[in-house]
Amino acid sequence: MTDEEARSLRVGDVLHVSGRLFTARDSAHRLLAGLIERGERPPFEPVPDVVYHSGPLAVREGTGWRVLSAGPTSSTRLDPFAPALIAGLGLRLLIGKGGMGERTEQALEECGAAYAHSTGGAGALAARAITEVEGVFWLEELGMPEAVWLLRVRRFGPLLVAIDSAGGNLYREVAQQVETQRRAITERIG
């Protein structure tokens, strides 16, 4: 993905991604942020510019791996470390579910990156777009869900751009509408 492509993404755009991406959850975010802080590089190069918040379910097949199911995990837990990864690794697209907080939103804006929603629970469908497991890192230390999986995907999606680099945030829009409804409901309940 080029810088221009990432910057032009807007809330509501629907995408399918082809190419390389890596998975990272809580522990991998902590480790990667630590490496970045010490001026070191991740053990996988070149680092894809797309991160997928996911802990795949994979099986060994011959000398490699096959991913059976790989939907998104809740991105909000990754908020404390996401800005460091966006800036330090040059990420252009974050894929997850449930949205992220203000710090990440700000980092997306500063670095011209976007956050896209993938449908939670639909892991069997998402895995069909994974054509190859290029490698898995920190598997021994972190276990299957928390390891970094380097994946090659073809038409991975549909993904919905939910936070863009121009200050658009779909979750905030929905939250405002829902809050109005909630107030009306609370009043009626008494």
Partner: protein, 287 residues
């Protein structure tokens, strides 16, 4: 030999649960899709329903997060097979982790190590209830961490009354937003005490969508809460829409005069469950 048979049936139960969404849940999702009137909500549910089909067709786990396999045993007090269960259940989880497979999800809270087989101190969680009769029903479920993370315990002042309970449920669903993968099944336990209200809520997770509580007052509360939760407009995946919950299940116990405990659990749409039955003669079946 009941024991090897029991272990293999429990493995089958775990396999069925991981791969095939119960028909009541799938039906409710299809009905929800028909009810939605925005492309975004329809598209989320279309993706969900496509994943349900792909999982079945390919015999692969629907969601990668197969949770911490969790059990509720209704143990007939006159069953001659009770002594087998304590060992058979962990053995089945161990085997299913390799054979289905289930994602190895157990982590030592002190070292952070994952033993890679879903084993570990205190696991799998088993909730035992003695019931009359000689049948044993072993209910199992696989609930993802994202939906378990948004569980709530509200110790309300008794004067908050039922209105307070309704408020707490609506507020909690709204605050949880898209994190538990809506449309959810909302489980509400009322009364009993802090631990019991959560356990009452948990036990409703094995009910079918559309099943009402036998007590008319609890059933009416379920229907009212379902309407209120869906009025919020949070919608599928928290992206807006008419279907925030597929159902609400309520269970209750009498409360202490000083307390009105409410336990709230949100079950993701991928409500994976199964039941294995062992009769008096040792016949085992996945029901």
């Amino acid at each position: 030999m009941v024991k090897p048979d029991l272990v293999s049936h429990l493995v089958s139960g775990l396999r069925v649960a991981a791969i095939r969404l119960p028909s009541d849940v799938a039906r409710a999702l299809a009905q929800a899709q028909a009810r939605e009137d925005t492309p975004r909500a329809q598209s989320e549910l279309a993706t969900v329903l496509a994943a349900v089909d792909v999982a079945c067709a390919g015999s692969v786990p629907l969601c990668q997060d197969t949770g911490i396999p969790t059990f509720f045993v209704e143990a007939g007090e006159r069953s001659p097979h009770l002594s087998l269960l304590r060992e058979a259940i962990p053995a089945a989880v161990h085997r299913a982790t390799r054979e289905v497979p289930l994602r190895p999800n157990s982590v030592d809270p002190f070292s952070g190590r994952n033993p890679d087989d879903n084993s570990g101190r205190g696991l799998p969680p088993i909730d035992w209830q003695l019931v009359p009769g000689d049948d044993v029903r072993i209910h199992l479920r696989l609930k993802g961490g994202g939906s378990d993370n948004v569980s709530a315990l509200c110790m309300l002042p008794p004067n908050a009354g039922l209105a307070g309970v309704k408020d707490a449920v609506v507020d909690h669903v709204v605050a949880s937003a898209g994190n538990p993968c809506p449309p959810t099944i909302v489980a509400v336990g009322i009364g009993g005490g802090s631990a019991l209200c959560l356990r009452l809520a948990e036990r409703t997770l094995w009910r079918a969508v559309g099943e009402r509580h036998p007590d008319a007052r609890a059933a009416a509360l379920e229907e009212e809460l379902l309407a209120l939760v869906n009025e919020t407009g949070l919608g599928p995946m928290g992206l807006g829409g008419r279907t925030t919950a597929l159902d609400v299940h309520v269970e209750y116990a009498f409360r202490h005069p000083a307390s009105l405990p409410v336990g709230i659990l949100l079950q993701c749409w991928a409500a994976r469950r199964a039941t294995v039955r062992v009769d008096r003669r040792g016949k085992v079946e996945v029901v």
